[in-house]
C-alpha cells in the first residue's frame, strides 16, 4: 500500500464557548486505509467528523482533507467525499433507483454514468429485483448496505461513516464490512466511527478519543501488544478507565 496522505490534521482545536470538544488533535490518514475512530459518547468523535467533512469550521489548527483546507475550501472537500450517517439516510418514499439517481445527480454525475454504476451496484448487491421498490419496503440491513453503496457511488477519495452499523444484525454487519473492504480495495479511504469494539478489529488503524483528546493511535495488533490486552475492547477499557481511578461508566460500554 502506498502511503499517500489523504487526511492530515494538525493541532486541531474546536471550542463551543468555554467547552473544548476537540483538544489539539494530530493525526494522518493514508490512502486506501480503513481508519477507525473510537471513543465514548461525548468524546468528540462527531465534532471531529463534522470538521473533516466540511460541515463545521475548526476553531484553530490545520485540517487538510483530500488536498483541500477544511477552513478555506469546504466546498471542494464536499465534492471529494462520501458520507453516511448513523441515522438512516435514504428517502423512504422514493424507490431504490430514484434514490441512486438523486444522489448521483447531486454529486454532478452524468446520467449515463449513474446508470452504468447503478447496474453494477445492483448486481453486486444482488439487488436487481428491488430496483423499483420503495426504500420503506426494504429490511434495515438491505437499506444500510444500499446507503453505503450510494455514499460511494461517485467514487469519492474518502468516505466518512458515522456509526454506520447501528441496530443491524451481526450477519449484515459482517457483510457490511465486506463491502467496506471492497471499497478500500478500490482505493477509497474509509474513515469510520463506531461503538462496536469487534468492528474496531477490522480497521487498519484505530484512534481512541477520550475527553476531546486522542489518547491512542495505532493498528489494533500493536495496541493490544502495547496494553497487554486480548482485544481492542480491553484496550479501550484500560485507556478510558485507568485502573481504579473512577467507577465504570455505562456509556463507555
Amino acid at each position: 500500500m502506498t502511503k499517500n496522505t489523504v487526511i492530515s490534521v494538525r493541532n486541531l482545536v474546536k471550542k463551543f464557548g468555554s467547552f473544548t470538544a476537540n483538544d489539539n488533535l494530530n493525526f494522518e490518514v493514508f490512502e486506501g486505509e480503513i481508519f477507525g475512530f473510537l471513543g465514548a459518547n461525548g468524546a468528540g468523535k462527531t465534532t471531529a467528523l463534522r470538521i473533516l467533512s466540511g460541515l463545521s469550521e475548526p476553531t484553530s489548527g490545520e485540517v487538510i482533507v483530500a488536498g483541500y483546507n477544511a477552513k478555506k475550501e469546504p466546498e471542494q472537500i464536499k465534492k471529494n467525499i462520501g458520507y453516511m450517517c448513523q441515522k438512516f439516510s435514504l428517502y423512504p418514499d422514493l424507490t431504490v433507483k430514484e434514490n441512486i439517481m438523486l444522489y448521483g445527480g447531486i454529486y454532478g454525475m452524468r446520467k449515463a454514468l449513474i446508470r452504468e454504476r447503478t447496474d453494477l451496484l445492483l448486481d453486486r448487491l444482488n439487488f436487481r429485483e428491488y430496483s423499483d421498490r420503495l426504500i420503506s419496503d426494504l429490511p434495515l440491513g438491505l437499506k444500510q448496505k444500499l446507503a453505503f453503496s450510494v455514499a460511494v457511488l461517485h467514487e469519492p477519495k474518502i468516505v466518512f461513516l458515522d456509526e454506520p452499523t447501528g441496530g443491524v444484525d451481526p450477519i449484515t454487519r459482517r457483510q457490511f464490512w465486506e463491502m467496506i473492504y471492497e471499497a478500500a480495495g478500490r482505493g477509497i479511504t474509509v474513515f469510520v466511527t463506531t461503538h462496536y469494539m469487534d468492528e474496531a478489529e477490522y480497521c487498519d488503524r484505530i484512534s481512541i478519543m477520550s475527553e476531546g483528546k486522542i489518547v491512542a493511535l495505532d493498528s489494533p495488533a500493536d495496541l493490544k501488544k502495547q496494553y497487554n490486552a486480548a482485544s481492542v475492547e480491553e484496550v479501550f477499557v484500560k485507556i478510558a478507565r485507568p485502573a481504579g481511578t473512577h467507577p465504570p461508566s455505562p456509556s463507555l460500554l
Partner: protein, 368 residues
C-alpha cells in the same frame, strides 16, 4: 443547475407520493371553497318561517305573500294559536314566527298603523338578527307601496341604503379572499416547515449538507415545488369561485396574482423560519398552526371584523401579516382598485418577507 433540478424533482416526488400532501394541496382548497360557499353561507335563502294570522284579511295575505315571494323565506307552517309558537320553534321546523294582530287590515286602513310581531329563535343570534332585518326591510318596502298608492300626498323621507361592491351582500364575496389567505398559509408555511424538519428528523438533511449542494440550493429546492403548487391553487380557487359563485375579479388580474406571489414568498420564508427553529415535525406543525393559522382565521378580519375588536386585539392583529394581505385582495378582487390603493399594505408585506427571510437565512444552520 442540473443538481438543483434533480433535487426539485425529488421534492415533487415526495409530494405526489404522499396522499396527505396531495389532499392538503388540492382537496382542501376545493373543499373549503365549496364548504364556505354553500354550508357556512350567511345569506338567507328560503328560510322557513311560520305565520300566526289572527286577522286573516286581504292585507295580511299581501304582506305574507310579499315576505314569502322575496326568495329569502318560505312558509313552513300556518299556526292557529299562540301556544303553537313555542312548539314549532322548539322543533326547529321554523326559524321565526310572524304574528299579525287582530283586525290588522282594518286598523291599517282606518288608523294608519297596525302591528306585526316577529318572533325569532334567539339561540341562533346571527340568524335571528338577519331574519329580523330582512323582514323589517320587506315590511318597510310594503309601507312604501302602500303610501305610494293610498296616500301619495304624504311625503316620507325614506333612506335608501345600497351596499356597494357587494350589492346583494353575498357572503362568499367575503370568504373567497379569506380562503385564499388561509390556503396559502396552510400550504406554504405549514408544508414547507414540515418538509424541512422531516429531512432533519430522517437524517437526510445532514447528508444533503455534506453534499456539494449549497445550502441556498437546498432551501430553494425545498420551496420551489410549493411555490408552484400554491400558485396553481390560487388559480384553481379563482376559477372555482368564478364558475360556482360567479365571483369575478374586478381589478387587475395580473396585479392580484403578483400580490399573491408576494404573499406566497412571505409564507414560504415564514415556513423556513419555523423549520430552523423546530426540531421535530410536531413542533413545526404546532408553530405554524399557532403562528399563522390562528391569526389568519381570528385576527385577519376574515371572519371577525378587526374594526369591531377591542383596541388591544386590533394592535395584535397589526402584528400579523394576513390582515394586510386580506385588505389587498379584497380591494383588488371585490372593489377593483389598483395598486395605488394597496401600496401601503404591499410595502408592509414586503417588509415582513424581508425580515422573515433575513432571520431564516441567519438561522439556517449551514454548518450543523
Amino acid at each position: 443547475m442540473k443538481r438543483f433540478l434533480g433535487f426539485v424533482k425529488k421534492e415533487f416526488l415526495h409530494i405526489f407520493r404522499d396522499v396527505r400532501s396531495m389532499i392538503i394541496l388540492f382537496g382542501i382548497p376545493v373543499a373549503q371553497i365549496l364548504l364556505f360557499g354553500y354550508v357556512v353561507s350567511t345569506d338567507l335563502k328560503n328560510a322557513p318561517i311560520a305565520f300566526l294570522d289572527l286577522s286573516k284579511d286581504e292585507m295580511t295575505q299581501k304582506v305574507s305573500d310579499k315576505i314569502c315571494s322575496s326568495g329569502f323565506f318560505r312558509r313552513s307552517e300556518t299556526l292557529l294559536s299562540y301556544t303553537d309558537i313555542d312548539k314549532v320553534l322548539r322543533k326547529n321546523k321554523t326559524k321565526a314566527v310572524i304574528i299579525f294582530e287582530k283586525d290588522f287590515g282594518r286598523k291599517l286602513v282606518s288608523e294608519g298603523k297596525a302591528a306585526i310581531s316577529i318572533i325569532t329563535d334567539g339561540s341562533e343570534p346571527n340568524m335571528a338578527t338577519l331574519i329580523t332585518n330582512y323582514i323589517t326591510a320587506i315590511t318597510a318596502d310594503f309601507n312604501m307601496e302602500l303610501a305610494g298608492t293610498a296616500a301619495a300626498a304624504t311625503l316620507l323621507v325614506q333612506p335608501e341604503v345600497r351596499m356597494f361592491y357587494n350589492p346583494s351582500l353575498k357572503g362568499h364575496f367575503m370568504f373567497v379572499p379569506g380562503v385564499i389567505t388561509l390556503i396559502m398559509t396552510l400550504i406554504c408555511a405549514l408544508m414547507t416547515s414540515i418538509t424541512i424538519t422531516r429531512e432533519k428528523e430522517f437524517g437526510t438533511m445532514e447528508v444533503l449538507l455534506v453534499s456539494p449542494l449549497k445550502p441556498i440550493q437546498i432551501l430553494l429546492g425545498k420551496v420551489t415545488p410549493y411555490f408552484l403548487l400554491s400558485f396553481i391553487d390560487i388559480i384553481l380557487i379563482l376559477i372555482l369561485s368564478w364558475l360556482v359563485f360567479g365571483l369575478p375579479v374586478k381589478g387587475n388580474l395580473i396585479l392580484l396574482l403578483a400580490e399573491c406571489m408576494l404573499y406566497i414568498l412571505l409564507s414560504l420564508s415564514l415556513g423556513i423560519l419555523i423549520s430552523t427553529k423546530a426540531k421535530t415535525m410536531q413542533q413545526a406543525i404546532f408553530m405554524s398552526l399557532v403562528g399563522m393559522m390562528l391569526p389568519t382565521v381570528l385576527l385577519s378580519g376574515f371572519i371577525f371584523p378587526i374594526e369591531n375588536m377591542a383596541n388591544i386585539y386590533g394592535w395584535v392583529a397589526a402584528l400579523f401579516p394576513p390582515k394586510y394581505f386580506l385588505v389587498i385582495i379584497k380591494n383588488i378582487m371585490i372593489k377593483g382598485t389598483g395598486f395605488l390603493f394597496v401600496w401601503k399594505e404591499t410595502l408592509i408585506i414586503i417588509a415582513f418577507t424581508l425580515v422573515f427571510m433575513g432571520l431564516s437565512i441567519r438561522n439556517f444552520k449551514i454548518r450543523l
